[in-house]
């Protein structure tokens, strides 16, 4: 085991991690630990754009953007955070341009902007052109530009170092009201070097989690194979709560059967959705902005069309994305990659044929709770000094119960930057926290469970069954019955997980072992998501309960907070289900009263 010492350690090298590293690296001694080479991160798969009220092509302002974000999130958004994001969006885009990002341009040479779902002029009057973009490769350009600037600033990367544990200590502390509590402090992280199979402990004054999402709990997903919720899982196991995990976004237009993403930019550029009767069915569900309604509404509408027998294809299990009325030259200029995906993977020519699509698991609105300064919370309001989180792994919460398209690329830039600055500034004033005794002991045990298992269960089989039940029971439509089915299934998967057998026994690039560890995180997170979904007996944003189809502000206008608690009694009460304790956290309101959400 080797021990390294840095002021700041950043976990993850996608958009949020590298944006943080650019700031932190210039202020403090910083290391970035990443499971993948930085340019492999899934930020690169984002397509459509990044919204900011630049008003380059039509009237716009950041207050409208704030409102759209809050309404899009069905009012579960913390309004102070949404204001910060919409306001700082403008500089975030300009920062990227100055770093070299090749945005598409207007005839005047300014950054061009286009329409996107849920982004509107003057509080919902009509779609507005707010998304800054680079063809349908905006995420690719952001990831490359940030990596280029990390190279420029000599950021130190530890590539293929898989972080498996967060090292914390607990100190006795007393609140202002005199009650005693345990204050967590950060000491560092433990990582597993994939190339050598050796453990490395990184002692750090500040740790920034920027490790992305957990889409692989589902079968049909736009997420990369590597998005297994590691950061959320690590924090949860170390007593940090997870916020709003029941809210998972299903992107309307995944390639049918495959889940590969086709950007909402297609609809922003004029594409429309049709059912088997050729109808533009979104006119029924969102008469004002139709195909450009927020994702939760479009995804649910599509699933409803299929349920009512108006799906297409031999199994009537998808709908169609129709671009055939658009000029091929326009498609080539604005949507080159996604049309190539349709050709490559489905053999469909988008110039002349509509493309089969169906909702695909896309984005975790929930995650590690933070305040607007990206400081991680150990409960509703106690900050863990030195611990930060940004991007999909975090819940600040700017997305509430449904994220608007483009707001994730914005989130990683705005809050990634904030995290990098805050972590470095904290490290300037703070000392190192002493490492706990045997800092690697927990991680060794974790690896040994997988490595030394001699049972008869295969990781891939359990993972597939988990993904199948999540797709069948935790997707766009949910009921108490389906959710209880998932919990029952997970309980049996957890038992079987104890008997897994990893075939690769070597140390070098043991990706078989890695998948076993990842499955542990997936099981843990799927359970948290489902417990929180069962507890939320209402429908809001991306969480739709058929047995509770209305939003219930009286009972549920609050964030959910899930804590790992081995002592939580499995008494069937709503607040505690086998090892997980649920609590709530108030939503922050500034100026917007909740209204009925119509488009």
């Amino acid at each position: 085991m080797q021990v390294h010492k840095y002021d700041v350690v950043i976990v993850g090298a996608g958009g949020a991690g590298m944006r943080a590293a650019i700031e932190s690296g210039q202020r403090a001694r910083t290391a970035v630990l990443t499971k993948l080479y930085p340019t492999r991160s899934h930020t690169g798969a984002a397509q459509g754009g990044m919204c900011a009220a630049l008003a380059n092509v039509e009237e716009d302002n950041w207050e409208w953007h704030t409102f759209d974000t809050i309404k899009g999130g069905d009012y579960l958004v913390d309004q102070d955070a949404a204001e910060v994001m919409a306001k700082e969006a403008i500089d975030a885009v300009l920062d990227l341009e100055k770093m070299g990002l090749p945005f598409n341009r207007t005839p005047e040479g300014r950054i061009d902007q286009r329409r996107f779902g849920g982004h509107t002029r003057d509080h919902g009057k009509a779609p507005v052109r707010r998304a800054c973009y680079a063809a349908d490769r905006t995420g690719h350009m952001i990831l490359q530009t940030l990596y280029q600037n990390c190279v420029k600033h000599n950021v130190e990367f530890y590539n293929e170092y898989y972080v498996l544990d967060l090292l914390t200590v607990e100190e006795d502390a007393v609140r202002e009201d005199g009650t005693a509590y345990k204050q967590k402090r950060v000491a560092g992280v433990v990582s597993y070097d994939l190339a050598s199979g050796e453990l490395h402990v990184f002692q750090a004054k500040s740790v920034v989690f920027a490790s992305g999402g957990a889409g692989k709990v589902f079968k049909t997903t736009s997420n990369a194979h590597t998005l297994t919720g590691d950061g959320m899982g690590i924090a949860f196991r170390r007593g940090i709560p997870l916020e709003d995990m029941e809210f998972f976004q299903f992107h309307p237009t995944g390639l049918a059967g495959l889940g590969i993403l086709l950007s909402e930019a297609a609809r922003g550029e004029g594409a429309i959705l049709r059912n088997s009767e050729g109808e533009r069915f979104m006119e029924r569900y969102a008469p004002t902005i139709k195909d450009l309604a927020p994702r939760d509404i479009v995804a649910r509408s599509m699933a409803n069309e299929v349920r009512e027998g108006r799906g297409c294809g031999p199994n009537k299990d998808y709908v169609l994305l129709d671009l055939t009325h658009l000029e091929p030259a326009h498609i080539d200029a604005k949507l080159p990659d996604i049309t190539e995906f349709a050709r490559t993977y489905l053999g469909v020519e988008p110039y002349t044929e509509p493309v089969p699509v169906f909702p695909t698991a896309h984005y975790a609105m929930g995650g590690i709770p933070t305040n607007i300064n990206t400081e991680v919370l150990q409960d509703n309001d106690t900050v863990v000094p030195g611990l930060y989180a940004a991007g999909e792994v975090a819940c600040v919460s700017v997305h509430g119960s449904n994220r608007l398209g483009t707001n994730s690329l914005l989130d990683i830039n705005v809050f990634g930057k904030r995290a990098g600055i805050a972590a470095a500034e904290y490290a300037k004033t703070a000392g190192f926290v002493e490492l706990p005794e045997d800092p690697e002991a927990y991680t060794l045990e974790l690896l040994d469970i997988a490595r030394k298992g001699t049972g008869d269960e295969k990781v891939a089989v359990i993972r597939k069954e988990l993904q199948d039940t999540m797709d069948a029971n935790m997707q766009v439509f949910r009921t108490a019955e389906t959710l209880n089915q998932v919990l029952k299934d997970i309980a049996s998967f957890e038992e079987r997980y104890k008997r897994i057998n990893v075939q690769d026994k070597g140390k070098r690039f043991n990706l078989d072992l890695l998948e076993a560890v990842e499955l542990g995180f997936l099981l843990e997170l799927a359970k948290v998501m489902t417990v929180a979904a069962l507890h939320r007996e209402e429908s809001r944003g991306g969480h739709f309960r058929e047995d509770f189809p209305d939003r219930d502000d009286e009972k549920f206008m609050k964030h959910s907070m899930a804590y790992k608690d081995e002592h939580a009694p499995a008494d069937g009460s709503a607040e505690s289900i086998a090892g997980i304790r649920l609590a709530t956290k108030p939503v922050v309101f500034t100026r917007y009263e909740p209204m009925v959400r119509k488009y």
């Binding site: 993948l36 899934h42 690169g44 798969a45 885009v93 341009e97 100055k98 070299g100 090749p102 945005f103 598409n104 341009r105 005047e108 040479g109 300014r110 286009r114 052109r129 680079a134 490769r137 690719h140 490359q144 280029q148 600037n149 190279v151 420029k152 990369a224 194979h225 049918a256 550029e269 004029g270 429309i272 049709r274 088997s276 009767e277 050729g278 006119e283 297409c312 294809g313 031999p314 998808y318 169609l320 129709d322 009325h325 326009h330 490559t344 993977y345 489905l346 053999g347 469909v348 044929e353 509509p354 089969p356 295969k458 990781v459 891939a460 075939q503 140390k507 070098r508 690039f509 990706l511």
Partner: protein, 260 residues
């Protein structure tokens, strides 16, 4: 422009059989995978796997089927699985491709399909190579915007034509398919290789950048663009369709015309 588009029809007649459909055929393949694990043996070998696959499956699906159902020790990198992250460049039937973008049905399935690591970089295990030399070359061309003027308060202006000038080379995903297909790179480990030149091109021809001359000087080195023998392997290998050989030619032209 989308803003000026007429509203599409509320309802249209769809042609019969739209969206394709019918039964997806299955077929049998043999995947012949190059295996190497120095923990076990210094000798590399071939392993054959017989698999039943579906019509839309890719080489990556076949590798996953092996890893998940047959032999968990088969090792390869992958992440996004749809051709944008650049993790799974490998040599498939002797050509560099991304495993996630190569449909099995497009290959000759009557013979074993060979899968090997990309060439010219040290093999670590099975299909995994050490990417560090590749990224080292990338870093050496100063792959970032350098602008000596004052920072404007808003964005720098760039005409659509100037933006288009370097569009092709912005598509690079650093998968190394081009560089590791280059015969010069195989025999001369010092050569920058096509990917680094592509990334230099991306900035040399960006109207906002002021360091083109410095990069041209770097690439005028004896291990620079002049080592290129114009075999076009790189252009054929690029999974993003970048005209790599043309980009290298443009860099050569620029060196000559600027008389460095």
């Amino acid at each position: 422009m989308s803003a000026e588009l007429a509203e599409p029809a509320s309802k249209i007649e769809l042609p019969a059989g739209v969206g394709g459909g019918g039964e997806i055929p299955t077929f049998d393949i043999t995947l012949r995978v190059r295996r190497y694990n120095p923990e076990v043996s210094e000798e590399a070998r071939w392993d054959d796997f017989k698999l039943t696959m579906y019509g839309t499956d890719r080489v990556l699906d076949a590798l996953h089927k092996i890893k998940w159902e047959v032999d968990g020790s088969v090792s390869f990198r992958r992440s996004c699985a749809h051709g944008v992250c650049g993790s799974d460049a490998m040599r498939i039937n002797g050509r560099n491709r991304l495993a996630c973008k190569t449909l099995l049905k497009d290959l000759d399935t009557s013979k074993p399909i060979t899968v090997e690591p990309i060439k010219g970089l040290p093999v670590e295990k099975d299909l995994i190579v050490d990417m560090e030399p590749f990224f080292q070359s990338f870093r050496e061309v100063m792959p970032f915007l350098i602008n000596k003027g004052h920072e404007p308060t808003k964005e720098r202006l760039q005409s659509a034509e100037d933006r288009e000038r370097f569009d092709d080379t912005t598509k690079c995903i650093l998968c190394a398919a081009c560089t590791s297909s280059c015969p010069v790179f195989w025999t001369d480990g010092q050569y920058f290789g096509p990917a680094a030149i592509v990334n230099a091109h991306r900035f040399i021809f960006d109207s906002r950048d002021d360091a083109g001359d410095m990069r041209l000087e770097i690439l005028n080195d004896k291990e620079g663009v002049w080592r290129c023998r114009t075999t076009f392997n790189c252009s054929e290998a690029c999974p993003r369709g970048i005209q790599v050989t043309q980009a290298i030619a443009e860099v050569k032209q620029a060196i000559l015309s600027r008389k460095i």
